[in-house]
Structures are given as C-alpha cells and as structure tokens.
Amino acid sequence: MTGQAACPQCSAIGGSTDRFCESCGATLADIRRVAIPRGNAGTDAPCADCGNATFVDDYCSVCGHRRAEPDRDEAELGAVVLITDRGIEHARNEDAAAAGMVFDGGTSRPYAVALAVCDGVSTSGDPQMASGAASKAGVDAMLGCLAASANGRAVVLAGLAAAAKAAATAGTDPSNPPSCTYTAAAVVPTSEGTLQITIGNVGDSRAYWFPEEPTAPQQVTIDDSLSQELIAAGASAESEAVQRGAHTLTRWLGADAEAKPWSDSSVLAVTTAGPGWLLLCSDGLWNYLPEPADIARFCTGVEPHEAARALVDHALQCGGLDNITVVVFPIGGIHEFA
C-alpha cells in the first residue's frame, strides 16, 4: 500500500490501490464500458423515404416511416474495437456487443477486460431485446466480479448467469420470447506473469485467439450447433447433414432455454505469455471466413479499427446475409495490463 484514498460512497479512508471500500463494500475501481448498437440516439438524418426532417416518436411526421436505425455502429474502448452491422439481407440488426475495462485509480492501463457478442435468434420475437440485454448484463456482471476476483472461470460464469437471466426477462410477448447466442471473454493477468483469456460460449457466435507466428491461429469456442454435434458423433464435416445443421442451435439464452443454458464445454481458457489478437464475432462474419486462418489474415500489420472494418466489409461484399458483429482486442502482452 502506497497511499490512502477516500471512498466516494461513504468517505471511509482506505488504501489507494484497494479495489473495494473496506467500510461499505463499494467498488473503488474505475470502470469504463461501451455497448452497441446504440440506435437512433444523436442522429438527425432526414426521412430516407420522403426527405422530411421532422420525426415524432421516431416516425416521420409526413409519411409515417419509422426512422431507420443506422446500418452500422462502431465503438472503441482502449485498444478494443467493436463494430456491428445490419448486413444486407436482414431488415434490422439483432446482434449486439459490449465491452468493459477495469482500471486502478490513476493508471491508463486496465487490469482486466470483459467482452461479449450476442446474436439474436431471428425466429424468436424481438430477439434484439435479448441480445442487447444479455451482452450488457454479461459484461456488467463480469466487471463486477473482476473487481473482486481474478479467477477467470468464476468471472465468465458470473457473466453467463447474468446474461441468461437478462435474456430470459427481456421480452414483452411471453408466447414468443426473444433468444440469443452469447460469446464472452474475460482477460486477466495472472500472478505468473501471463494473461489468462477465459471464454464463455452459448450458441454459434465465436471467439478466436491469434497468437504471434509461428503459433497457428485457433478457434477457442465450440459451436452449440447440430452440425457440431454430428461432427462430434463422427460425421464428416463435408457431409450434407453437417452442412444443413450448421445454423441449428442446440443451446441459446432466453426464456425458453434450459435453466442452466451452458454446458461443461461452454467455458474454455487460453493462457498466453506473448502478444496476440483476441477476436469475438457473430456467424454473420465467420460464415464467409470459416477457418481461423481466414480471419487471422485480416489482423496482421494493421490498426485494430482497420482490421475490424475490413472484416465487416468483407462479409458485406460476400452478400451480408446476416447481421455482422466483430470485436477485436489486440493484446500487446502482459506489460499492457496494470
């Protein structure tokens, strides 16, 4: 302990590096977070249909058209870049992403990072309500937990539980409740001088880890899809049954999901001493870049926002059949963490 600081909640004096107030339990860490898509807030574009400039309740005051949400939303948080895009075929964006960082007072380096990507299941009712709520709740729970524990598995499970609850209560129509996938990452430095990347996954969004060459890029998550189950049972990846089952989910978050929607293989971890890129995405991206190396190619020698944009643009050029969401986090190594 090097100095003393007052708790902003109860004014009790504690150590300046304490993460919790010893007196009232309030978190003393500086937490920053971001979530996309952010909808129409702050846009003032005229009606795309008739050019009229005034809207009431988000409806054009002349032709009645609902103001379209922006096709793409981009956000940055430290080195993390998040992009979500409606794509071309879908009428609305049902994906969501969120990120958060925990800083110790006074430093510009985070001591932990939490990320989440959710993809709304388009056959459910208002799936964007589930994906938005789950991604935010997952990151918030991970941040709260990170301030108390450096155990990546505990942090990711806390996020999963909060996200599952948020998705299950997000809908307004109980007869057709919204559901979504959930892929999250918690990045925490360990006492051994390495970084622990813990991934939690339900559904078929994915997390990739691209370490420096010559180590091969890897897909960390295992899809909760019918085709994955068939492959696990011995079917060929090229077989028709596997191809057909690629987008049939076997697990998801929502009111109609199992009480504990994750499985034993939902939480996985990677430990690294050196630099690399962590990438989370929805199937709107990996559909067009199925192999880890296909995506990794975009992530060398460029800035993270350039890589993220190039990836989303690639998916759009390939047809943009689904919403596209990508979160990239280039990790320089343990020295970037507090």
Partner: protein, 430 residues
C-alpha cells in the same frame, strides 16, 4: 400528457401491426376510458342544460293511461335534476310550446323550480300533430342563447313525424348536430324506429322503445341520472395519418355501433377531428381502418396517431403502427377484438337489413339476413340481440333450418330494430 381540467383519460390500441407485402390495410380497435376521477368541475364551470320534450299530439290520449305515464316520467326526470342545472320542459306537437318556464327560458333547478315544473307538467292536455324537427329547432334556439353549456335533451314521442316533410326534419337534424346530445324514446308501437334513430345517431344519443307506458318513469329517471353523470362537455378523436393514406372508416363499436366516418372535420395537415360528444366515467371502443401505401418487408410505418382532445388539450394518445412482413403467418392473424367488432357491425347491419326485407315482404332475404344475424349474435355472446332475434326467427337447433315467425309482436320487432346497434364487449385482457 394530461390537461389540468380533464385527466384520467386513457387510450389503448389493440391491433396486429403485421401487414403482408404489397398490401396496406391496417385495422385497430381504439379503447378510450374516462375514469371516475374525471373532473366534474368541468361541467360545473360551463353549466349544464337539460331540455325535456314531451309529445302532446292527440294520439297520446290513447290508450288510457299513456299520457299520464308520460307526465309521471317527465316528473321522474325532473326529480333527478341536480341543483343548479338549467332546465326547460317543452310540449311537442306540430310546433314546440314552452311548458316550463312559461317563457321557455331555462331556469336553474331547485326544490322550488322542480315543484313548479312538475305542477305545469301535470296540467298538460294532449292535442295536436307531430313535427319533431320543430322540437329540435326549439332546443337549438335555447342552446344558442347559452353558449358553452353541456346541453342534453330527452325526446319522447308515440308516433310518426307527420306534420313536416322528411326533408325539413333532415335539415333540422343537420343544423342541430354538435349543438346538443339527444336521447330519443318511442312509447307504444306506432312510431318509426328509423326516424328516432336518425335523430339519436346524429345527436350522439340513444334510442329505445318503451312498449309499456308503465315503464316510462324508470327509464326517464335513468336517462337523466346518466346525463347528470356526464362531466366532460366534448371529447374529440383526432386522427393523424401519413401522407397518401386513406381512412376507410372510423366507427364507434361499443357500447353501440355508430359510423363516424362522415363526421370528419379537417384539423390541419393530415389531421381530422371526429366529435365524440359528452362523457362521464365510461369507456367506448372505436374501430379504425386505414389504407396506407404498401411498403417492402421489414419496413415500419405509423399508420395512425390517435389523439383524444378536450378543448384544445390532448388528453390521451395511442399509436397504430404497421410492420410489413413476408411471413404470412404473422400478417394473416387478425386481432381478436378487431374480428369481434367486425362481427358486431355486421350483426347490426344484418338485423336492420333483415327487418327491412321482412317489412317489404322479401321473405328469402329476410330469412337469410336474420339467420346470419342469429349466428353472429350467438357466436359473439351478444345475448341481448340473440334473445330479441328469437322473437322474429326460428332456427331448428338440429337441422339449422331457419324460418321467419308468422306471429311477431310489433313491440318485439321494434325493440330488435332499436337495439340492433348494441354490441357485446370483448375486454382487452381476455
């Protein structure tokens, strides 16, 4: 939003927002509820005016007791007048003559004026013709002299409008629209339902038959009590629709069916006002159908913005949106309440058309229409209309064969006609 004067009004929209690609018909049921907390001070501030028109034509002499019953009914209504309510009693013949006060100019109700008025009514003797248009004109003249007052009239007749042309009566109705509300009652069976319905419908009131004169007093007291409960002089339904949209219809569908489409008054760009008359603590349902320009799947448009206006203040609002979809399972669903009230409107029309065909001797049409009416009434749980229909048409439960009853009491038939627009309710939460 709520106005300081009128609060406690809620607007609910019930509809299926999903529309099939290439189509643009949007149906919605709009429920307007004025709660118990709707300020009665509003009416007090403006003043309240009641006119009772009692038919004094010669035919009121028979059968014996009818005219006495009418006088007692008028007295019963007078007894319900809240102190301070301005009121006047008019004798209706081929002209309209003031009975109380003798100069025809309304006075505030008090124990003394109520007693005086009842004495004047008691001294009435029937003699003369029937010209209901002139009766309405008399009330209108009083309204003009009392601007801003919440004015209500009760009109009682036993016969047909004989001493003016139908055109004269139509004119008087048109001139009286929006000036005051009017509840109409026919006693006996010699009057014409469509004549009274023309008045009550235009003047936002009710119409009914009182077959037995002995029932008049209770009915008059009820009507006056209901009127004393009205605390909002005027509500208006304001409809905003997108450019290029067409309003197919605006109908009140509960408690009775009343087409308001032609009552539209333009209220600025893409806005039209539909007067709803005076309100107490009550709820009414409206069926609105709008044709909007079709859009591509995935697009969403506001098909109508429904505002309830009191004075110049918007006191409630509801949105009717439309979302185009390629998913026919979604677009083919009809809101349960839209379906129900579509059936109730069809039921009212089937009863009226069936009875009219019956009068004209067109038995096949009458049978078909009334049988259809019976199906609709039974299906929708409109027990009141179903019961009245059984007096006119017999349906064999086993074979489903229908035939008109040979012996139909005039009173039953008129009750069915007069009450044909009454609808069964379906609640939002059912």
């Amino acid at each position: 939003m709520s106005s300081p004067e009128v609060s406690g009004i809620s607007v609910d929209v019930d509809h299926n927002p999903y529309v099939a690609e290439g189509t643009g018909t949007v149906d919605a049921i709009v429920s307007i509820t004025a709660g118990d907390d709707v300020a009665p001070e509003v009416a007090k501030a403006h003043g309240r005016l009641e006119a009772i028109i009692i038919d004094c034509s010669t035919s009121m002499q028979s059968p014996i007791g009818k005219f006495d019953a009418a006088k007692q009914a008028t007295a019963a209504a007078i007894d319900e007048l809240v102190d301070g309510t301005y009121f006047t009693i008019i004798a209706g013949t081929e002209k309209a003559s003031p009975i109380y006060p003798s100069d025809g100019w309304p006075v505030p109700a008090s124990a003394a004026t109520r007693a005086d008025a009842k004495r004047s009514v008691d001294g009435l003797r029937p003699g003369g013709g029937t010209a209901m248009g002139t009766w309405l004109a008399a009330v209108r003249g009083i309204v003009v002299g009392h601007p801003g007052m919440l004015t209500h009239a009760i009109l009682l007749t036993d016969g047909k409008d004989e001493h003016e042309t139908p055109e004269q009566m139509r004119q008087e109705i048109v001139l009286s629209e929006g000036q005051f509300t009017c509840d109409c009652r026919g006693v006996g069976t010699k009057w014409h339902v469509e004549e009274l319905r023309a008045i009550s419908s235009a003047l936002l009131g009710t119409v009914d038959i009182v077959a037995d004169p002995a029932d008049l007093a209770d009915d008059f007291a009820d009507m006056m009590r209901t009127s004393m409960g009205k605390s909002i002089p005027d509500l208006t339904l304001r409809l905003w629709t997108p450019a290029g949209a067409r309003i197919a219809f605006v109908k009140q569908v509960a408690p009775t069916v009343e087409d308001l489409t032609h009552r539209r008054v333009e209220a600025g760009t893409q806005r039209g006002d539909y007067p709803l008359g005076s309100w107490g603590a009550e709820d009414r349902d409206y069926h609105i159908q709008v044709e909007v320009e079709p859009a591509a799947a995935g697009r969403e448009k506001l098909a109508a913005r429904v505002s309830v206006v009191a004075g110049e203040e918007i006191v409630g609002e509801g949105l009717v949106n439309a979302v185009w979809t390629a998913d026919t399972e979604k677009s083919a669903q009809i809101s349960r309440r839209v379906a129900h009230y579509t059936g109730q409107a069809e039921l009212a029309a089937a009863v009226q058309e069936g009875l009219s065909a019956r009068k004209n001797g067109d038995v096949p049409t009458a049978t078909a229409k009334l049988q259809r009416a019976m199906e609709l009434a039974v299906e929708s749980g409109n027990d009141g209309t179903a019961k009245l229909l059984r007096g006119v048409i017999e349906v064999d439960q086993r074979t489903g064969t229908a035939r008109l009853r040979r012996e139909v009491s005039a009173a039953d038939e008129m009750a069915l006609d007069a009450r044909s627009t009454r609808t069964a309710r379906v609640r939002k939460e059912d």
